[in-house]
């Protein structure tokens, strides 16, 4: 293998190393950490973040970012449960599909703003987040939609097959799709090329606009679907349920060194990042560290990892 590949894989190894280290440390603190039950449970909790990060990774590879995650997750959870109220119990199975549709529509708007109007993605998605928040808050305030998780959502989130939680399986499916898409299709090639230089990709005869829009839609589908699964896990959908996921999702993607500048990236790294964050979170909560600490730690992790791997290349005139 070439030195380049090894350099790219190093962050992944470091991240997985940290996961193992953290679990062992946790095991020393409390032997239960090492039980299969605990580890599977961690996998289940990690899957919500993992599904969001799968989609976000594509957007970040493009050199963009999506700050509308919190309320897209929320609207995913809300619509997934509300579908029962709209069309009645027999159509409850439509919930996850409605969630995906709603997330896709919102991110379609993001994609249009970024790809056609060339508005910086962070600003447009930040504004979109507020708009979606407004819509959800208004709608909930006026209509009090059904927010109880339906059986199908519970089945997706907490049921198990051979002791493996379905949420983890869902994550695996999303992950597989992202890996296939990035590694084996022209779309994936274009994503990497645009992330590095849209200025080169567009004159190569690539419709970069539609690639950008498609990536935003895909990431919206991921976020909203994750919201639906989360609602199944929590038993109900509630406002601001997506708020805790923005920073960890970015941290997880950045952790592996999928640089925010949209360079080459590999999915295993994102998985490592997601698991690392989840385990860290769980250890912090078990060790009863106050709510403030995780915030500081996420911030420090993002900065630390970015300083090491993701340095913005100097733009020499």
């Amino acid at each position: 293998m070439t030195p380049v590949l090894r350099a790219a894989d190093r962050p992944v190894l470091i991240a997985f190393g940290f996961v193992v280290l953290l679990i062992i440390l946790g095991g020393l603190y409390n032997p239960q950490f090492l039980s299969a039950f605990y580890l599977l449970q961690q996998l289940q909790v990690a899957s919500f973040l993992g599904i969001i990060a799968s989609g976000l990774m594509v957007v970040i590879l493009l050199g963009h970012i999506d700050l509308s995650i919190p309320w897209v997750v929320t609207i995913g959870g809300m619509t997934a449960t509300a579908a029962t109220g709209w069309w009645g119990e027999p159509f409850a199975w439509l919930g996850p599909l409605v969630a995906i549709a709603s997330g896709s529509v919102i991110r379609l708007a993001n994609g249009l703003g970024v790809a056609l109007l060339r508005i910086p993605s962070m600003v447009f998605t930040l504004g979109m987040n507020a708009v979606v928040q407004g819509i959800v808050v208004m709608y909930t305030g006026a209509n009090a939609p059904v927010d109880r998780a339906t059986p199908i959502l519970k089945w997706l989130a907490v049921h198990e097959t051979f002791h493996v939680p379905h949420a983890a399986i869902v994550w695996a499916i999303f992950g597989l799709l992202v890996v296939l898409m990035l590694g084996r299709t022209p779309f994936g090639r274009y994503v990497c090329a645009i992330g590095n230089s849209e200025r080169v990709t567009y004159p190569s005869g690539v419709n970069t606009r539609s690639i950008l829009i498609a990536a935003f839609i895909a990431s919206g589908a991921c976020s909203a679907f994750s919201g639906a699964v989360l609602a199944g896990y929590a038993g109900k959908a509630y406002q601001a349920m997506g708020d805790p996921y923005l920073l960890p999702a970015i941290a997880a993607v950045v952790l592996r060194g999928t640089s925010i500048l949209g360079e080459s990236g590999s999915y295993p790294g994102t998985i490592a990042g997601v698991i690392l964050i989840t385990v860290l979170d769980s250890i912090l909560s078990v060790a009863q560290i106050p709510e403030a600490a995780p915030q500081i730690i996420y911030g420090a992790i993002i900065i630390g990892m970015m300083l090491v791997y993701g340095r913005a290349r100097r733009t020499e005139g």
Binding site: T185, P186, C192, N196, G205, V206
Partner: protein, 310 residues
């Protein structure tokens, strides 16, 4: 030229990035300066011209193409198997002409016919379509031609990856075959196709850019100063390749700032000045003095010189 003799006290001549000579005003005649500017040893570098393209069918016909203040009323024809040069001083609209043909510029006026059919090309993607099959080798390979951190393989296949994935998934074997072919055809020197393209030498990078477009099987290739900053040996390889492509029936439109290239490489040269075609030179008309005169728009009338584009 007139500005130089009117204003300059000391005159320095540069050619291909090298300082050739400096002299004070009046020390050399105009002809001598031109000789210095062109250089002497250009003849044997270039492959023989075939010369039988004059009667072939046109690939590209442009009528009255205008864009803003940059281009006005451009008429141009490129035939099958013909290398047409775009000449003139730097910045007379040559770049804009290439970009406008390739669908990058908005608000064009005039008619563009590809293979006899009128087409409106709205984007590079449209220019790449099989019905048009155009390619543009950009000027600055580092910012416009290549995605430097991506591998040689990914760069070579960037424009044609859609064809290598007929069912939606890239066929790795076909991709490898295409890349190997490109390596051979252009004799690209790289240890591996999986290295970032940024690690190659300038000449090899330029070959990768050309390879990227050859894989699209274009029948009309536009080149924007493809040999700038490349050593003489690699330049020669590129000239041979262009001639080989032309002999295979491809139409080529070559913009270059090197007069020797225009003379040595092209079957016909269209001279631009201030966004207009001022002269077309072919056969024996292709000489340094004619090109230089047309560049400065001297031939038409000494007094009625059009305003430069910028």
């Amino acid at each position: 030229m007139r500005e130089i003799t009117a204003f300059a006290d000391i005159c320095s001549v540069f050619r291909n990035g090298r300082h050739v000579a400096s002299f004070s005003r009046g020390a050399r005649s105009g002809d001598e300066i031109v000789e210095l500017m062109i250089g002497r040893d250009y003849k044997d570098v270039y492959p023989d011209k075939s010369g039988h393209a004059a009667s072939a069918k046109p690939v590209l016909e442009v009528k009255g193409l205008s864009w803003g203040d940059c281009l006005s009323g451009i008429d141009l024809t490129v035939r099958k198997g013909e290398i047409v040069g775009l000449g003139g001083l730097d910045g007379q609209g040559q770049r804009e002409l290439l970009l406008s043909l390739f669908g990058v510029l908005r608000g064009l006026q005039g008619e563009i016919k590809i293979g006899g059919e009128p087409r409106s090309i709205g984007s590079p993607r449209g220019a790449k379509r099989r019905s048009v099959a155009m390619a543009l080798i950009p000027e600055d390979r580092k910012t416009e031609g290549l995605v430097l951190p991506l591998t040689v393989r990914e760069n070579i296949c960037l424009a044609s990856i859609g064809r290598l994935a007929p069912a939606g998934f890239i066929r790795k074997r076909e991709e490898k075959r295409a890349v190997d072919e490109a390596f051979q055809m252009l004799s690209i020197h790289a240890n591996s196709a999986d290295l970032p393209v940024g690690t190659l030498s300038d000449g090899n990078q330029q070959k990768v850019v050309i390879a990227k477009w050859l894989l699209t099987e274009a029948r009309l290739i536009l080149l924007n100063d493809p040999t700038r900053g490349i050593d003489v040996g690699r330049k020669q390889q590129i000239y041979r390749l262009l001639r080989k492509l032309a002999d295979g029936g491809t139409g080529i439109l070559l913009y270059t700032t090197d007069y020797a290239e225009l003379i040595g490489c092209c079957d016909r040269v269209v001279m631009l000045y201030g966004g207009r075609v001022v002269r077309e030179l072919q056969g024996d008309e292709l000489s340094e003095s004619n090109i230089l005169a047309a560049s400065l728009n001297l031939s038409e009338s000494e007094t009625a010189v059009g305003e430069p584009a910028d």
